[in-house]
């Protein structure tokens, strides 16, 4: 795959729940490797549905979702799990760390589930914790960390299997402004190093500062698709 090849290719995707209006309606979207795409929109606009479809957590009623060359809309449960292990790293608003595992054990999880060799997994985890400046908390439990630190742990965990795509769902939504800034810088830094990021957020500031491109969803449709000047510069 070249640097500019689309890592995500969504075509005419519609997702409807029950008899209600479509959460996504005939959405077509292409994301190139190295992009940091922010998905904006009000509540119920289809942002989380779009993220779930890309993560293989949900399936469209129509259309196709291809990520890193793999059609993910038709994968089995096991296939989806393998896909997430290999291709996706996820960061959530409320961190979703397992409270009864230490920071290291949380970070190790994706590698362990993927069957990565023990020593290699530990080496990677140590490297990530150091890179994200949370290595001093390696043996701590998440409950003892600040929000920003927990989100850094979540990012470390998301990057553990060196995913082609980092999905972040409101990563600063549960953080105070200082911690939010911390996470913003981290995402910007990661993208600057070539990590493709899909960022779902309400936070326009976050989108503008760390995204290279913004799409806005309203009622399940893309109403705006903007490439930022800062991104061009970057």
């Amino acid at each position: 795959m070249t640097a500019t090849a689309p890592v995500i290719d969504i075509r005419d995707v519609t997702r409807t729940y029950g008899q209600g209006p479509p959460a996504l309606a005939e959405v077509t979207l292409s994301v190139r490797a190295g992009e940091a795409l922010a998905v904006l929109g009000p509540s119920g606009s289809g942002k989380s549905t779009l993220l779930n479809l890309i993560a293989g957590l949900d399936r469209p009623n129509a259309g196709s979702v291809t990520v890193a060359g793999l059609r993910v809309d038709g994968l089995s449960e096991a296939g989806s799990a393998r896909y997430r292990r290999a291709t996706i790293g996820m960061v959530f608003q409320f961190f979703n760390l397992l409270d009864d595992l230490t920071v290291t054990d949380n970070v190790l999880l994706p590698a362990q589930l993927a069957g990565v060799h023990r020593a290699e997994a530990r080496r990677r985890a140590a490297g990530l914790l150091e890179y994200l400046r949370i290595d001093r908390h390696a043996a701590a439990y998440p409950g003892r960390l600040s929000g920003g630190e927990r989100q850094r742990v979540a990012v470390a965990r998301a990057l553990m299997n060196r995913p082609a795509l980092l999905l972040a769902d409101e990563p600063t939504g549960a953080l105070d402004s200082a911690s939010g800034e911390d996470v913003r810088e981290l995402l910007t830094e990661l993208n600057a190093e070539g990590q493709t990021i899909i960022l779902v957020t309400h936070d326009l500031g976050l989108a503008e500062s760390c995204a290279t491109r913004t799409v806005e969803l309203v009622d399940g449709r893309i109403v705006r698709d903007t490439t930022h000047a800062t991104a061009v510069a970057r």
Partner: protein, 800 residues
């Protein structure tokens, strides 16, 4: 509608909604109460109902607590009459002259043609059926009022009124007319004649034997009856009492089959009730834990703590009531075949479970259920409204960190190590899971042990089950019997034992063999005729399993069952005198064995004993064991060719199965299965609760790439360790329960089970049984594991 009615309506809706929402838990509660009530109703019902017909008939007839026979040569009638004043005697009847006769049918009667020799009968000379003791009830016809008439006992002699019986061995070989059929509740005689007729039947010069019937003030236990018997014995010259039997032994014999069910049914009932309490406590506790927010909402809407408590107790009581009703029906239904024959034996209606048991058992079960549900329900009632609403669900315990850390370092797949650590996060719930598994595993161990014991009893209960081939030597009647032979054509003479032995010895494939002859004679201490099975040759390889003492190894020895010893009031080492037509011989009891052939009242001895009594000692049957690898069909063909000139025939020895044991096995299988299913459902229930509590973590793990197989592995592993440990711990409990219950089953039928029939567990079986807990746990966890694997990740991530 009043405010009160509206509140009640609201409470009812909440209860119904709770029951409907938790279908798995509701099904578990129904099944567990169904199983426990079924077993408890059966156990209590059989205990009471199987004895009721006897007790009713005994009370109605003022049955004899003790029937005693005396040697007229050693005691006079007036001395016997004086025993009515012995200590503790409240009423007495007799002395009645008593003698043993061998009747032969002199006319066609019912199924019997004329000329059939019948087994010996104990005939009592009694002027009327009334009196203060043993008021004999006439089933049909009338009482004997003059010589030449005889009344026969119901079910003992298959001759109807109008039929005639000749007594060839009595002086003058008189022929008596049957005028009635009567029933004595304790079987004080096989037939009755007038006292004058009894005197006439006695061989001139020989002393008259007497029978006395007693009722005592205290006769509730074997010990009390034995003390009363001792008082009577002390009131007459030494050795005058030649035999006696207690009404307790008769009752035990009459109710033995039903009573044998009681110990194991009681054990299953107790296990079931304990499991019910456990499962219901788990379910209600889980329901409260999972519905904290719901409880908060109910309270914020105006539900009082008492109403919340009633709502949760009600959610347990509704399925429990359904289970009780179903268990009641099933228990009564299963009791029908077991109790079927008990009532009719005493002329009453067929016995059934008493109504009070149908009321008390379910009421007790419901009280236990309510008690089990009350504790978590009270917790729900005490929850503070604001806290309940804000917390949403019971917060996850902060336990198990160390376990997670340690298991995480094990060289195991992460799904496995995560699963292994799960039980430590909620120790109380894990303990209940372990308890449910332990109950199930203990039940399986107990049930398997019972089946093995019953299998051993089944294989050893008949005396002629040894060897794969039997040789019948002719002589009429059933194989080996000589007491009964059909009239009409003369019987084929019994084949020469020497010729048969030679033919068997010469036959290729014969390993070993022995012969048996049978006869019915009088035995001291035993009322009525005793069947003697006499062995010729070395039968030690086919001997019944011994309880104590040793097998026959010389002349003048005998082996009997515990029931025989109790009935005769003797022990191993004592002597029994056998009588036949004026001849008598003594045999020493050298061993106590277990067998149920002939109600366990047969006496096993050598053929020399029959010869000493002047009886035909030629074996009527040979049991033959063939060498390993011998073709049975070929062997039989060749042996029959050799035996044909001798006048004997060889047949395959086919298994004889006991319907009672088959019924027991079926019942044990059903109850074991039900308990195991309930235990499995208990596990399922806790795993469902646990999985629901962890649904968010599950979503996170799946989002991180945990596949369906890994999810199933994690959930199953979370109970596998518990299952393994609980199973291993439960096996000794099951073995102990089996060791406790099986002797009680033997005691219930008046038998002592051989140690080998009780020690049925061996190391390989125990190892497999120990894995039973693992199997129950894993099976119980599979369904929720599948649910967890299928659970939509996005939805799980949104869960609180």
């Amino acid at each position: 509608m009043s405010a009160l009615a509206r509140r009640k309506g609201a409470l009812g809706r909440v209860v119904r909604a709770g029951v409907g929402r938790r279908r798995v838990q509701t099904a578990v509660m129904i099944l567990t109460t169904l199983m426990s009530v079924t077993a408890a109703v059966l156990a209590a019902g059989l205990l009471v109902a199987s004895r009721a017909p006897f007790d009713h008939a005994f009370a109605e007839q003022d049955g004899a607590h003790l029937t005693a026979q005396f040697d007229g040569a050693k005691v006079t009638a007036s001395q016997l009459a004086a025993t009515a004043r012995a200590s503790d005697v409240t009423a007495a009847a007799g002395p009645f002259p008593v003698l043993s006769v061998r009747p032969r049918t002199a006319s066609d009667s019912g199924p019997l043609p004329a000329g059939v020799d019948l087994p010996p009968l104990t005939v009592v000379g009694r002027a009327d059926a009334a009196g203060g003791v043993d008021r004999v009830s006439l089933v049909t016809g009338s009482w004997a009022t003059r010589p030449g008439q005889i009344v026969v006992a119901y079910d003992e002699v298959p001759v109807e009124p109008g039929g005639r019986l000749t007594l060839p061995t009595a002086p003058g070989s008189p022929t008596l007319t049957v005028v009635g059929v009567a029933r004595s509740v304790t079987g004080t005689a096989d037939a009755w004649v007038t006292p004058e007729q009894a005197e006439a039947l006695t061989t001139p010069g020989s002393p008259t034997a007497y029978e006395m019937l007693y009722r005592f003030r205290h006769a509730g236990t074997d010990a009390q009856v034995a003390a009363d018997r001792a008082a009577i014995t002390g009131a007459v010259p030494k050795g005058a009492m030649s035999g006696s039997h207690s009404y307790l032994a008769v009752r035990q014999q009459e109710t033995a089959n039903a009573m044998a069910f009681v110990p194991f049914l009681a054990a299953f009932g107790v296990l079931g009730l304990l499991l019910s309490v456990l499962v219901i406590a788990i379910v209600v506790s889980g329901a409260v834990g999972a519905a904290t927010r719901r409880i908060g909402i109910l309270k914020s809407l105006g539900f009082t703590p008492a109403q919340v408590v009633r709502a949760y107790v009600g959610q347990a009581l509704i399925p429990a009531a359904v289970g009780c009703a179903l268990g009641l029906g099933l228990g009564n239904l299963l009791a029908v075949p077991v109790l079927g024959e008990v009532g009719t034996a005493f002329g009453g209606p067929s016995a059934s479970i008493p109504v009070w048991i149908d009321v008390v058992v379910p009421a007790a079960a419901l009280a236990l259920v309510a008690g089990a549900a009350l504790v978590p329900a009270l917790r729900a009632g005490r929850l503070r409204t604001v806290q309940a609403i804000s917390v949403g669900r019971t917060p996850g315990a902060g336990r198990g960190h160390l376990a997670r850390r340690l298991t995480g370092r094990l060289p195991l797949p992460r799904a496995v190590s995560l699963g292994l650590a799960n039980p430590f996060a909620r120790p109380a719930r894990s303990a209940t899971t372990a308890a449910a598994v332990a109950f199930g595993a203990a039940t399986v161990t107990f049930g398997v042990g019972l089946a093995l014991t019953l299998g051993a009893v089944q294989s050893g209960r008949m005396l002629d089950s040894a060897g794969s081939v039997v040789v019948e030597t002719g002589g009429g009647g059933p194989p080996g019997a000589q007491a009964v032979h059909a009239g009409g054509e003369p019987d084929r003479p019994r084949a020469d034992p020497a010729e048969i032995a030679a033919a068997l010895g010469a036959q290729r494939g014969t390993s070993r063999f022995y012969g048996t002859a049978q006869a019915e004679v009088g035995a001291s201490g035993i009322a009525g005729a005793t069947t003697v099975v006499a062995y010729q040759g070395d039968a030690s390889w086919a001997a019944p399993r011994m309880v104590s003492g040793s097998w026959l190894d010389g002349p003048g020895q005998a082996v009997v069952t515990t029931r025989f010893l109790k009935a005769a009031g003797i022990r191993v080492g004592d002597t029994v005198t056998l009588r036949e037509r004026g001849r008598q011989t003594s045999v020493r009891i050298v061993g106590e064995a277990f067998f149920t052939q002939g109600e366990g009242m047969e006496l096993l001895t050598g053929t020399s004993t029959l010869a000493a009594l002047g009886l035909d000692a030629k074996p009527g049957q040979y049991n033959v064991e063939t060498r390993p690898g011998t073709d049975p069909a070929h062997y039989l063909t060749a042996l029959n060719a050799a035996l044909d000139p001798v006048g004997a025939v060889a047949l395959a020895n086919t298994a004889n199965t006991s319907d009672v044991i088959v019924t027991m096995n079926a019942l044990i299988g059903m109850l074991t299965l039900m308990l195991v299913v309930v235990a499995g459902l208990g596990v399922l229930n806790t795993v469902v609760l646990d999985t629901r509590d962890r649904v968010h973590d599950l979503g996170v793990l799946k989002a991180l790439g945990m596949g369906p197989r890994q999810t199933v592995t994690m959930v199953v592993t979370s109970v596998a360790g518990i299952g393994l440990l609980a199973g291993a711990a439960a096996v000794p409990a099951g073995v102990a329960l089996h060791r406790y219950v099986t002797p009680l089953m033997g005691n219930a039928v008046g038998m002592t089970l051989p140690a080998s029939d009780i020690a049925v567990y061996h190391a390989p079986q125990l190892a497999v049984l120990a894995l039973g807990g693992l199997l129950i746990a894993v099976t119980g966890a599979l369904l929720p594991a599948g649910w967890a694997a299928r659970k939509d990740t996005a939805t799980a991530l949104r869960s609180e």
